[in-house]
Symmetry: D3
Subunit: 157 residues, 6 copies
């Protein structure tokens, strides 16, 4: 949300790519692309941000890193720059001549996907670190239970 708010101050329209859209029910990606889109849209609406300037698109991974930019050019409406803190993503777009924006970090030691999923697993107070609507949606879909099941599986194998 922090990155989206920052971007809304810099550009007219944002396309949010929900990557690895084929993944769910794993520790790294416990939620389906659709569930992730729901969390984003509901939080954007709850925070009164302009939903009409934000396009959210689920994008399944492809095997060719070298085709990633062309693949997004195919699936998304035309875009002029990429915003990411991921060095590989930055590099792939830079190699194709795109401008690269780097949204500022926001409380990185507190708020990171890895850390929050670990807290969810251990039942520690993750609820304060994500938007309220996300807490509610995770509950509605029994998300914590799902993450625990996934981890048990990995441990057993």
């Amino acid at each position: 949300m922090h990155a989206i708010r920052w971007l809304l101050g810099h550009v007219g329209e944002i396309i949010v790519v929900v990557g690895s859209a084929e993944k769910s029910h794993t520790l790294e990606n416990p939620f389906t692309a659709g569930e992730r889109i729901l969390m984003l849209r509901e939080t954007i609406a709850a925070e009164k941000l302009p939903l009409e300037r934000i396009i959210i698109v689920p994008v399944p991974d492809i095997e060719y890193n070298s085709l990633w930019v062309g693949y997004l050019e195919t699936l998304l409406p035309p875009f002029q720059a990429v915003a990411s803190r991921n060095p590989l993503v930055q590099r792939l777009f830079a190699e194709k001549g795109y401008a690269v924006l780097e949204p500022p970090l926001y409380q990185r030691d507190l708020i990171s996907g890895v850390r929050i999923r670990k807290m969810m697993l251990e039942g520690r107070g993750w609820e304060d670190l994500v938007p309220k609507r996300v807490v509610e949606i995770v509950r509605e879909i029994s998300g914590i239970e799902r993450i625990r099941k996934v981890v048990q599986t990995d441990e057993e194998l």
Copy 2:
């Protein structure tokens, strides 16, 4: 646009699935998913329809018809009903227990994808049959020339 306007009168939010998102540069799907999304969004904006109530999602085909509904349930935020005039789509969703809405036809003898692409090929007045922004976008991307090239290829092979 006619179906979208009709749906906006019946439901709160619409998810528009831009199917066969992997296809482009063919007679049946001359435009990339991204170009199709651009046409939709620009026309929706030009007609002052509420963009914040409309989610447009590119979805590549899958090989299993029987998984189509589950695949959309994965990629899209939760939905309660499907709207389509395609009998196979209607059937697949009905088999999974979804309500099926059928948007009314709109000047079907005049306005159909097959007919308009044929008119584009023959240089006959297709411009009056699509929204103004679509005419402009097709021009910007030299869309007519693209369709003609594709057809020449099919004829030669």
Copy 3:
């Protein structure tokens, strides 16, 4: 069933490959692989044939014809010969050195998939041309309605 009965008289065990297992809800393959397996097993049981000598395996298509035999060698327990009336299948196995059996035709002018699906569409007496359990299963899954929907789709596009 005729081919299976004939084969049971010639070999110890039969592996029935239910091909194109990814296809369903099309005119050529209206039923899922699982539904096709159900029809086969139930009819085999109803006709008191030895189910323990018959292995039925759903196999999705692959893109490489040239890998078809090696693909089946991977998915199936070892086999010594292939039985098929399909010239391409015969050829692919012969090129890899397999013996090829050709089950005799059985009332081909009456009984063929193409003809029976056509009769299903037109509501003509297809029920006498398939085993009784198949008639019942097709009813349980509203199979005729499914075929009709599929055909309407093809006609409209």
Copy 4:
């Protein structure tokens, strides 16, 4: 075999899913799906269990965990419950409303795939931990040599 015997006491028919059917020649899945099916069928026959009540199906993995249940519904004849000790599998079926059976553990400290493959590698007496027909089949296909080659490869890279 222990789980199969337990299930035969609880249900009428069992479908055994041989998963990751595309995998072979790796440490975790040294044998092809066909070889695994052969081991299962031969042992079931040797132990005089009712082969006609057991359906064994090779199933290649798919990328979407969320489609796993629908994918099996497509490939398999209709089923009413799932039996598995894998928490992720249990979770995926529970989310789709299936009853979940949990076959009891059988000498888990002695008998586990990981442990037995390790013993195969080290040439320690794995033969007493698997059915006799499996020992014979592993020999016929030089299975131990295959596992050792695979491990050498992983070590070198």
Copy 5:
């Protein structure tokens, strides 16, 4: 061969893309990619053309026309222009800014893949229309018999 000879007069090195490399044993692509490469290399050698200036690469199709150029850029050493008479290929490369060369036609009414495969089927004198080494290779792999089997299959289905 005519196009290759023409290109050798215009550029330093040629990359020959053997497309649809996954296809074989069909009427349109009876031969495997490897067999097609063999025919090309043997004929180039027989005609004393400079093999060291010609790179022949099998390339399987992809589903996204829009990624075709990027896909070739990934698999092939860098290239500066494309040579093709196929309007779609010309268009795809032109859209990405490549120069497009069009090799002159050579006895198109006599020599075309469609016509020669038809003559092969009918047993009419196709041997004079292809290089001598191709005639020999087609014989060694029983190519004519393969084409006939494929066509029988299509007719029966």
Copy 6:
């Protein structure tokens, strides 16, 4: 290059398989298949080896280890033996009846892909361990910078 030179002394023609052709921009495979082919061809030419006796083919991975040999038989012109030091590759070809050649090691403690990529990362003198043309190509494509970006990504996630 050492293995190629050794092979040229033993066989008439060599097919060099550039495997994992879909991979690039990762630590293990930083370069695209096309870039790797370029390095090979340019070095072969610079060292005055007979380019016309060497076929270089990019080959994307497949999911089925058991189909690897058949897959190469499809994509490559006919071959009589395999040369590899990889035990899995040796095993897969041996199971299909191929002769297996093992090129001698060449300064393995100095020259290995893993070691050289590590030196590239750390800015230590990797340039002396690869052919001169490779040094130049890596520079032209800013290869060191690419590897560093990739590694940063892995560390952050």
